[in-house]
Symmetry: C2
Subunit: 365 residues, 2 copies
Amino acid sequence: MKKHIVVIAGDGIGQEVTAVGKQVLDAVAQKYGHEFTYDTALIGHAAIEATGNPLPEETITKSKASDAILFGAVGHPKYDNDPSAKVRPEQGLLGIRKALGLYANLRPIKLFDELLGASSIRPEILKGADILFFRELTGDVYFGEKGRSDDRDTAYDTMIYSRYEVERIARKAFEAAMTRRRRLCSVDKANVLESSRLWREVVQAMAPEYPDVVVEHQFIDAAAMLLIKDPRRFDVVLTGNLFGDILTDEASQIAGSMGMLASASIGDTTGLYEPIHGSAHDITGKGVANPLASILSAALMLDISFGMKAEAEEVVSAVDAALKAGYRTRDIADADTPDDMILGTEAMGSQILTQLASVAENQVV
Amino acid sequence: MKKHIVVIAGDGIGQEVTAVGKQVLDAVAQKYGHEFTYDTALIGHAAIEATGNPLPEETITKSKASDAILFGAVGHPKYDNDPSAKVRPEQGLLGIRKALGLYANLRPIKLFDELLGASSIRPEILKGADILFFRELTGDVYFGEKGRSDDRDTAYDTMIYSRYEVERIARKAFEAAMTRRRRLCSVDKANVLESSRLWREVVQAMAPEYPDVVVEHQFIDAAAMLLIKDPRRFDVVLTGNLFGDILTDEASQIAGSMGMLASASIGDTTGLYEPIHGSAHDITGKGVANPLASILSAALMLDISFGMKAEAEEVVSAVDAALKAGYRTRDIADADTPDDMILGTEAMGSQILTQLASVAENQVV
Ligand SMILES: CC(C)[C@H](C(=O)O)[C@@H](O)C(=O)O
Ligand SMILES: CC(C)[C@H](C(=O)O)[C@@H](O)C(=O)O
């Protein structure tokens, strides 16, 4: 198959990890006889520096013309400490989600057995946890009207949802639940928020269409607690943009580290594949960032956008094999990891490529 | 000292646990020669049943005339599954917070050593964690304008903060940090929300007044992750109403169980003392609810509203002693707890009263 991929590396460690993600895509293409062509585009702080705009028009045009996007990260500490900045790197990410209509953010949370020791949660609580989050991505308080009073002493944001927005993401979540353990937990704050009451109404109204799916509703505060207390009770979790942002970062502790988590942002056209970790400027350029989330994002791309199931599984198996062989990046190492098994970004990438090459012989999939 | 306390037990297990909290207050009064008088008032579902109103005027009048309020819980599953209900138990709780100007919600999160085993988080990550949350309680998306479009297909809530609201709670948090480990973490979502940018501006502007306090800012998604990954990095955490609701429930896992956590809601007048757990209708009337959060709420009342430090410490010591003696309620029991050490609500209350009596002799404080 021929596929055209735009790499939007963005800021901080985004550059380092997408470089490795792309190598893995190349290796897969070569092995399976696919032809992947690439282009690059700017976003975030990198785009502001080059063009003054966190989301140049060209980035949108290139993205729309591609079959999929491999995304890095956006953000820069400069803006975090300057709440009054008008132009911000994050506008690039929010803008591209909106421009491409990427309304569903899928975040699979699954612990590789070898990482049971890397989490702050007890292994016996974690073992077997396997959650698929559906976070709505183009609505909510992220995109509602916001502003300041004239004296700048009052600031507001609008949390807003329309029925069709809830319906389309809920449908994806229900359908995913049908292919999994058939449990759906919808998370809202319907005891306080009107937008949550609409959310709950819509999910309740759709439930009878999926009689095999057991639906439960949890308030966000309870969900944030239950996720840590008993992660195995969750199968598919469906929630809004803000609550999803919070819960999925929290859930990274289930996977041992943020450095392990991939996400797919999909809509009706081009999908965008992105680690859930951020730009991590504290470790940028040091060559220590964990590339596995970018590699697993590439695997999601193969699976979801290209329908290449076998290829995707092979990438996941390669990651598993590298972990089984004892290789770790710093963020997922524990006290028992020997120093020489703690690899940098590129060395971990090479391990995965080696595993991909050897999987060819033992055919894991 | 003479003090007048209004007991607002509310719904579900609120009734059972406040009954025990009151017994403990009585025991303290008797022992120290204080005179506590009591009144009761209705709220929530209980108030709706009796009067049609989740917050009867009389409840506000009685509360304003009191020195402190011992609060139970509000909520009823009936409303949770009916997003279109106009009158809701939670309106009682939100209403009383607003009516009494209880803008600062303090939630101390401290693990009793004996409960290291009750948490889903690894003991070595938890040990020594000691966090004091300041959650803003009368602003944010809880109280901003909310509504529906005419066709009811679009729903919105307004997240809104004014400078003075942020300032007054931030001041309390900075002052508390000065009496503790002098670290303040302010949590917001300033990379996306205008109300968070105002929040961050205000906290940044106040920081120079407290040169001894090390201030950091975290985004809510990162904070939700860090709280589990490394709870000991936090001392005082300052945040808004919605983010505080989520983080403090999540943080209950640090204390082993929601059943252990007390809160104080304070403003310029009468303070309200409340477990952070909810009405828990699934266990209501079974006599198994953990009364320790209500007892610890009573201790906060003694300390904060009445300035009775010794009395408050004695109550906390009594709880500690009961746990050391091996007594548990079901929610904080683990696999090693012998059956006969698992107590119901009243029996755990009696243990605390016994400990209070014996502390008199060995003077722990
Ligand atoms: C960078 C930020 C705007 C973004 C978000 O809040 O959506 C990030 O946290 C994420 O989860 O992708
Ligand atoms: C019952 C509900 C309205 C309330 C809140 O969200 O504030 C509760 O969760 C709390 O934290 O006190």
